[in-house]
């Protein structure tokens, strides 16, 4: 047992000094490898955190949202539509919502104004998301101004800055009173942005949505599960732009691994011959190459995952921003809440470390099975 441990120790020692003497080659391999893992891990962290965030938001979202659609375009919904909806069997409650977007040309950012259903906001005051607070350097007691559709600049006092629990929701939000928002947005009295429904039995949601379409032909019911599915479809492993990035990264990894698999230098082959001649077995050579592959791939894996974590959760996926967040003006400062799916990390490990380690062994196996007398010839 001790002998076996010592043997492993000797081989690891030898492997490390082997790696150090081909610094240039091995560091370039390590660099490329880390880059590939970094890309893959960034995509994984980004998508899973985004989906997690979306799920967090949507779990508390209403089961059915009813909007009004005129000529295929969104239109404010009359509040008295709610009475007809409340009469549908299975509908527990109908609430009107007032909310909308506001584009701030000065900061080139979109804000979401919302009239909260609970904890009403005092007239003349607003509560703002952390993102807006950072962008506009506005804190409690400051005054922010927005232009209403009639061109009048209207000012509100910041009552509070919302917590950062979920930046996706909170970052760009401005909570405002009903009266103020009607003035600021120009939504006429008796109308709302949309109506939200809660239903008794979630299995009946689809049926209720169909009934809504029949009763109010100009309405457009949106089911929560559909939104969740859309998020999944866009940011899931198997779809959207993610698959493109993953494919490119995986393809580059395959090319890189293939290059390694076929590229054992004459010097390396010579050394394997020497080691065999002085008394190493084929298995010793393979074990050494295994440690070599493991040392590089584990280092690259850890470094890549760590860098990806920093990239996604501390730099707000700076490299992906232009690609993935074309709608990023919605969020003045978008920072995902750190979340890691352990299964995905394990998958990444098996996608990168294992194949690389194997590809380092295969060419070594070919070289290690040569006759030791080759060094004599």
């Amino acid at each position: 047992m001790l002998q076996s441990i010592e043997r492993q120790r000797h081989l690891i020692d030898f492997t490390l000094s082997s790696l150090m003497r081909r610094k240039g080659k091995n560091f370039s391999v390590l660099f490329v490898y880390t880059l590939v893992v970094f890309l893959l891990a960034s995509v994984m962290f980004f998508t899973s955190a985004l989906r997690k965030e979306a799920h967090l938001v949507l779990t508390n979202a209403p089961e059915i949202i009813v909007q009004r659609s005129l000529s295929g375009r969104f239109s404010f919904i009359p509040v008295d539509y709610g009475k007809k909806l409340a009469d549908i069997r299975g509908v527990v409650s109908v609430r009107e919502r007032l909310w909308g977007y506001y584009y701030d040309p000065e900061f080139k950012a979109n804000y979401t104004f919302m009239v909260p259903e609970k904890l009403p906001v005092e007239q003349g005051t607003i509560a703002i998301g952390a993102g807006i607070s950072n962008t506009r350097h506005a804190y409690e007691g400051d005054i922010l101004s927005f232009t209403s559709p009639d061109g009048v600049l209207r000012s509100y006092t910041v009552k509070s800055v919302l917590s950062e629990e979920s930046q996706l929701v909170a970052a760009d939000i401005i909570l405002i009173s009903t009266e103020d928002y009607r003035v600021l947005s120009g939504i006429p009295p008796g109308h709302a942005t949309d109506l939200v429904l809660t239903v008794r039995n979630s299995k009946e949601i689809a049926t209720i949505a169909e009934k809504i379409k029949k009763i109010l032909p100009d309405s457009r019911p949106i089911i929560r599960d559909e939104i969740i599915r859309t998020y999944d479809a866009v940011f899931n492993w198997r779809s959207g732009i993610m698959i493109v990035i993953l494919c490119v990264a995986l393809l580059s990894f395959v090319i890189f691994a293939w290059d390694r698999a076929t590229g054992l230098s004459a010097e390396e082959k010579g050394e394997i011959g020497i080691l065999k001649a002085v008394g190493w077995e084929t298995s010793d050579v393979l074990l050494m190459k295994f440690w070599e592959g493991a040392a590089i791939s584990l280092t690259a894996f850890l470094a890549g995952v760590l860098l990806a974590y920093v990239h996604v959760f501390f730099t707000s996926s700076a490299l992906f921003l232009p690609v993935l967040k074309g709608w990023s003006t919605l969020y003045p400062d978008f920072r995902l809440v750190p979340f890691i799916d352990v299964n995905q990390v394990i998958t990444l490990f098996f996608l990168t470390v294992v194949p690389y380690t194997i590809t380092t062994i295969v060419p070594a196996w070919r070289a290690a099975t040569i006759d030791p007398d080759s060094v004599m010839r």
Binding site: Q3, H10, S17, A277, V278, S283
Partner: protein, 228 residues
């Protein structure tokens, strides 16, 4: 005693470039002796050395090491025998570049799993024996020709083999270093080592160290004779 009987070694058998390197050789190497294989380039000396040192298998014939037949042992056992019984000194030294002299000396013993401290101590003793203690940490490429050769000899001795096999050891050495090499071989012989050297250098085969001279030509033994 190493005994080989009717050994043949054919390379590229069955192909147009088939080549018989050794053709029906019988030879007995006595333990404790210095045996010199002599002959021109291409006479089969090196091939015979590889067969004697369990590095290569003969195409036909039988090999006995201390009366035990080892001809058809699996690679694993053959490697173990090679590691425990033989120490090799190569024509081009074949030291591993980029690592230290000490690591080169220790490398053949790594698979045995000996305790690191005792292995290192033994390797340092060997380097000390060849006045190389101060060069232990030096990389191979930083050593002079003579130093590199002594490191190669130290490496051959690290597993304390009973047989030293040297292939054209003086081919790349000047006269002074060649004589130095023979002095070291003399000391090893005095320590009871069996030494087999392939060489066509007169400094080697004319030396009074050789107990037996085996002359080869075209893969066959031309003459086997004791020097005394």
């Amino acid at each position: 005693m190493i005994d080989i009987r009717n050994i043949r070694k054919v390379f590229n058998q069955g192909r147009p470039n088939e080549f018989t390197a050794i053709d029906g050789v019988d030879l007995t190497v006595q333990l404790g002796d210095v045996t010199v294989l002599k002959g021109p380039s291409g006479s089969g000396k090196t091939t015979l050395l590889t067969i004697l040192g369990c590095m290569a298998r003969p195409t036909s014939g039988r090999i006995f090491l201390l009366d035990r037949e080892i001809t058809s042992l699996p690679e694993r056992f053959l490697t173990e025998i090679r590691r425990q019984t033989f120490g090799f000194i190569f024509q081009r030294l074949n030291l591993i570049k980029g690592i230290s002299a000490l690591e080169n000396v220790m490398a053949p013993a790594y698979p045995a799993g000996e305790k690191f401290s005792s292995l290192r101590k033994r390797a340092m003793e060997l380097l000390d024996m060849f006045s190389l203690t101060h060069r232990a940490a030096a990389r191979i490429e930083w050593l002079s020709g003579g130093e590199a050769q002594r490191v190669a000899i130290a490496r051959a001795l690290v597993n304390n083999p009973s047989v030293i096999i040297a292939d054209e050891p003086t081919a790349h050495l000047d006269t002074r270093l060649s004589r130095e090499f023979m002095e070291i071989m003399k000391k090893l012989k005095e320590d009871g080592k069996t030494i087999i050297i392939a060489s066509h250098d007169p400094i080697v085969f004319d030396s009074d160290l050789a107990d037996a001279i085996v002359e080869m030509r075209d893969g066959k033994l031309v003459r086997v004779g004791a020097t005394r």
